[in-house]
């Protein structure tokens, strides 16, 4: 059974600092997603990582995928308050994009002014 673990579960950081969220998964997969969720809201897609070594960046967020290590990272650069949210990684074990997603436990990020 595929397991997806994120760490840390909670992260409180000051504005302007850098930090990384880690996502480890237990079974080979070539397709990994990162989502953002604000309180009481649905999931907002941030990144789709499709192959080993994939790196994507959007604003202050950068995601990478190492399929050999079964590890993805979400790096936050010079954090701002607007980035406060819960971040989930999700793995599509089949790798087709339209199959069952297995989500991590989430990282609740709080940016302190």
């Amino acid at each position: 059974e595929l397991k997806v673990e994120q760490n840390p579960l909670f992260l409180s950081m000051q504005e302007g600092k850098n930090y990384t969220i880690y996502c480890n998964y237990s079974t080979t997969s070539d397709r990994l997603y990162w989502y953002r969720q604000d309180p009481g809201k649905s999931l907002e897609s941030l990144f789709v990582l499709l192959s080993n070594g994939a790196v994507k960046q959007e604003g202050r967020l950068m995601a990478s995928l190492d399929t050999k290590a079964r590890l993805s990272t979400l790096h936050i650069t010079a954090a701002v308050h607007d980035l406060s949210a819960t971040y989930f990684c999700a793995v599509d074990m089949a790798g087709f994009g339209n199959e069952k997603l297995t989500f991590g436990t989430g990282t609740r990020l709080t940016i302190i002014p």
Partner: protein, 113 residues
């Protein structure tokens, strides 16, 4: 182009009752997946429908059942509600063809008292 829509937004039910949640997929999408997200946890896959048939199923009891109409819209039915069924229920749609991302709806917040 409307995205994935869900109804109702919020719902309060009593233990033992039955509930039906509805989802309309994004235009051009024929596959619908349902996820349950308990408070403070990541979404968990319930099942997926394609061509009016259940295509995949997660680890949920038979109290959870579904339906897909010829127009691709879908329903999630939960019988004999338990307090533990209180959660945000998310619907996601995608084309059946490989390589396409799932798009999530706004969710239905179900509270069982």
């Amino acid at each position: 182009d409307a995205g994935v829509t869900q109804s109702p937004t919020h719902l309060i039910k009593t233990r033992g009752q039955q509930v039906t949640l509805r989802c309309s997929p994004k235009s051009g999408h024929d596959t619908v997946s349902w996820y349950q997200q308990a408070l403070g946890q990541g979404p968990q896959f319930i099942f997926q429908y394609y061509e009016e048939e259940e295509r995949q199923r997660g680890n949920f009891p038979d109290r959870f059942s579904g339906h897909q109409s010829p127009n691709y819209s879908s329903e999630l039915n939960v019988n004999a509600l338990l307090l533990g069924d209180s959660a945000l229920y998310l619907c996601a749609s995608s084309p059946i063809e490989r390589g396409h991302e799932q798009y999530f709806g706004p969710g239905t917040r179900l509270t069982v008292t």
